[in-house]
Amino acid sequence: MATMVSRSLAARLDAINEFDRAPVSSDRLQGSGNFIGIYAGEHVAGTEFVIGPLFVAHGVTAGDLLGGLLVGNLLAVLSWAFVCAPIAVRTRLNLYWKLRRIAGPYLLVVYNLVNALMFCFLAGAMISVAATAVGIPFNISMPGLSDLYPTSAGWVVTVLVIGCAVTLLAILGFEKIARFSKVAAPWLLLVFVACALTVLPQLGVTSVSDLREVADTKIWTGAPMEGRIRFTFWHVTFFAWFANMAMHIGMADMTLLRYARRWQYGFASAFGMYLGHFIAWIASGILVALALQEGSEVAPGPIAYMGAGAAGLLAVVLAGWTTANPTIYRAGLAIQTITPNWSRWKVTLAVGLVTSVAALFPALMMRLLDFVALYGLLLMPMGAVIFADFWLCPRLGLHQDFAERTGRLFSWPAGLTWLLTLGLCLGLNRWMDVEIFFLGLPGWFIATLLYLGFAVLQQRRAAAG
């Protein structure tokens, strides 16, 4: 009976991905321009309105910010190019099918559930961002950088209305909106630049030569806000590197890069990193510095309005909405693996409701740095498992894709690697005071070594009969 249920679950999981299980054929490969557009579009999003201000709140200095962003973004690009892209173009499989071969369908269900939950929270943060702009014409008081709970009835109503609208649009389909987000990206980037340029004179910058002094004394002053740890060069470096950890060393972008003609297309991620995660983060930091100086509201909507008026509000709404929409859709897709009798719209509705409730809490938005770090950390071990299985197992005389090869529904080496890696990272955090932003690096090596050790045990035992 248990085996029948297991097989049924595996079949359901497969049915959702039925058109995506084969390697990409050579006639569907795409040029580098397409990847530049996708990366630039995906990384100029609603989150950028929050992350820049949070760096300011964490009291980073201007030198540490610039140096950290340059180095961290470079490391992120190298991770895409040298870790994710080579496996993507050699296998031509998406993350789902590669992981299924290694870990078995059962473990993949768990992975999908964790992924869906993270997607819900991420989309919730985006809805919160959009709400800070929609609430302005209605004079609704916005949450501050320290607010964790809903601040007013007006905030609750605004978030729920936006949550319903985003969910409804996700039910109607996300592809057109995903394409629209790529159209919006160049305009959004220029709005960030325009906002920053506009407010610089109010901070005391009247010529380029004033920039360094104002940056040091009024924007990135090195003094954290109450309740925030002070960020150093290393915090910024590791945050920029691991902000998309699930995508590069976590291997989620195999789904995208399997369409690349060459692995070098992984370098296209530089357009996302240095436009979105450099220019936009710096610009939004400048905006919040003026808001703090004038004692006005620091939420994304008010600071964008300060720089660009109604166009700024439009930018916040579009940036939040176009990111939340496909995220809700993808979360629904992941959840659907365990709710086979529910139609797609019902799943998306349920996911949208969870997301909307999560969005009520400004904590999600105001603690976005911690959440983004946690999100990447939770999913990263499975990326390390893929890396170890693909590159290192053959060198140790081990079989790749052992779960598929032997018909296993659950790979205990992969499952145990995931659990133990997260447990050890928690231990590093609790007992050795390693902050969450730094855990990805030791975590990746821990996961790689654990998986190899467990794979040796499993395959030797299997060979011994």
Partner: protein, 63 residues
């Protein structure tokens, strides 16, 4: 490139210029904030009215 596509692209780029150039003029002290935000809104309208017709017309293949 067709004439229609070239015209649409020209209008879209004009919209982008209207988005960013006024802010540089505010920085230089030759334009006030009110005029700048009006230009930005007009630039947004021009860009979004024309860009979807020529950007990203082919599917990206992203799952």
């Amino acid at each position: 490139m067709t004439m229609r596509r070239a015209i649409l692209q020209g209008l879209s780029f004009s919209g982008l210029l209207m988005t960013v150039v006024p802010s540089a003029l505010v920085f230089a002290g030759v334009l006030d904030w009110g005029t700048h935000v009006t230009f930005m809104l007009m630039g947004a309208a021009l860009y979004f009215a024309t860009a979807p017709a020529w950007i990203n017309k082919e599917a990206t293949g992203r799952a």
